[in-house]
Amino acid sequence: MTPLLSIAGICVDLQSGGWLSPGGGARVNILSDISLDLAGGETLGLVGESGSGKTTLARAVLGLQPTSAGTIRFKGADLCGPADFHAIRRSTALMFQDAAASLSPRMTVGQAVIEPFAIHHESVADRRAKAAELLAEVGLPPEMAARFPHELSGGQARRVGVARALALKPALVIADEPTAGLDVSVQAEILNLMADLKDRHGLSYLIITHNLALVRHVADRIAVLYLGRLVETGPTRQIFAAPRHPYTRSLIAAEPKPDPRRRRRDLAIKGEIPSILRRPQGCEFHTRCPVAKDICRSAAPALQALGPGHSVRCHFPETHDKGG
């Protein structure tokens, strides 16, 4: 079966600094050799710390970020020019991280949810009825159509973002931190709404987040990024049960457990993600890795397959065998 979205060997390079800054003009490698597949109806969670390139990857998929190598295929067709990307944006949608800021302050909610039709030059017979229908889909009353974004709560703004994303009946929704800044009870409502809509419309989701508790519940598969490189990818259940990359294991261990009886004694991971301008030699993670050896400092590991759909980029992937 052809995957809905297939990314192969994507690289993104950017020019660093301006012509005034010393050393400016050097190419900085933001994303390096990322390959991922997303099947129809599947939810893929993209996780990593700030600066790992999660959002850049999502932007590259939609053609909002020029790539320097690699191919993106959507429903089996190569995307290579602005016209192709315009077409993919018709059947994909992006939910932005800051939902309230992603809505124009001068448009009412009703206008905002109808806007995608205008962008893609599609006529809507009854705009008011269409707006009400879209709002009903995300659990908002029709009166909401007359409101302006500043009159909405965080959860309501999120719902409007979902309604806007669904307007054109996309096959793929890319959600950038879909619940950032929301309270836990509202977060649950938004996730449940997204799950319902997925069942109803057969959507695929690419969820970008640093919230591991969230991906554990919604994602079928997860991909872990570190400094613009894919370090581990596999089925969610398998990765949480037995993470193979030391970075994945540290991320899972760093999540505070809401149980005072399981307080951690020591830190799973120290230090900060290095600057992408000073990418470490060898394996990028060796500066923070608890099991780094000499080879990790000199040679970059390749992505190796460990099992069906599970691969890891590490010289010494962790084994979870007894006594190992």
């Binding site: 009870s185 449940n192 900060e272």
Partner: protein
Amino acid sequence: MTDPVLSVENLSLRYRVPGGSLQVLRDVSLSVQPGEVLGIAGESGCGKSTLAAAMIDLTGANAERTAGTIRLSGRDILSLGQADRRRMRGRDVAMVFQDPMTAFSPVLTMGSQLVDFQCNLDGVSRREKSDRARAMLARVGLSDPDLAMTRFPHELSGGMRQRAAIAAALLMRPAVLIADEPTTALDVTMEAQIIHLLRELQADYGCAIVIVTHHLGVIAELCDRVAVMYAGQVVEEAPVDALYHDPRHPYTRALLACDPARIEEHTGRLPAIGGRLPDLTAPPPGCAFAPRCPLASDRCRTLPPPRVTIGPGRAALCHEVAP
């Protein structure tokens, strides 16, 4: 039991807003023992940040206290004069904010700000203050404190800025440190490090810490005691273990139930708390949580809930909870 270092007694506070007033704190009483770590949990709009700001008398100009007192080491801080209040802040009680970028001035170096923060320290030269600042930056885990002293806030990473903000708050060795969402703007790996740091600093300096956060994981990792707030009231107060393993107030139970980190298996669906927060311009006569509560009866909707003492250090604001 020793005297609390900080106590809030029957505090009610409202914000003047166009067309009325918002009753953000309603009869809140809390106390913090010396060296204790108290967590204040709750969702947006429950009044937890207002309570934290009130503890250091930093509420905005539109805030109006309608009742209650706040005592710091036995002194009523609201009866102090302006100059005394300024001296109290930073020296007796200090605060760490959510966004460390806005806590520092963007036009001064970290070093000069950290020296200026010690203005209440009499008889100490500028050089000594600078040494103290450098030592404190090293203590909070900045790898190159000399370099950090010469940097402007925007030149530090988010995690380093938050460490520097904690250093700034501890410079005067306050008896109480108030931290309002100290890890919310940070990555999980940095969050874990800041939690670890706060725990170490608490052990070293013995100051009491009040952590305000919506993140139940942070509270479980760090606190000795927890107060859960809802709609401007403390609805449950308990030692941390009891709160997580035997929550008594229906709101606390609902809040814990919908935290995805507590549910281990992949479910796809999460429990949510239906309904909305009440309108605080006209709080309901009965229990504020009644419209969303599975146990609510007629009594809950009409009569204000009593404060039921459940055990030592445990209380809940509820009609239905058994003592």
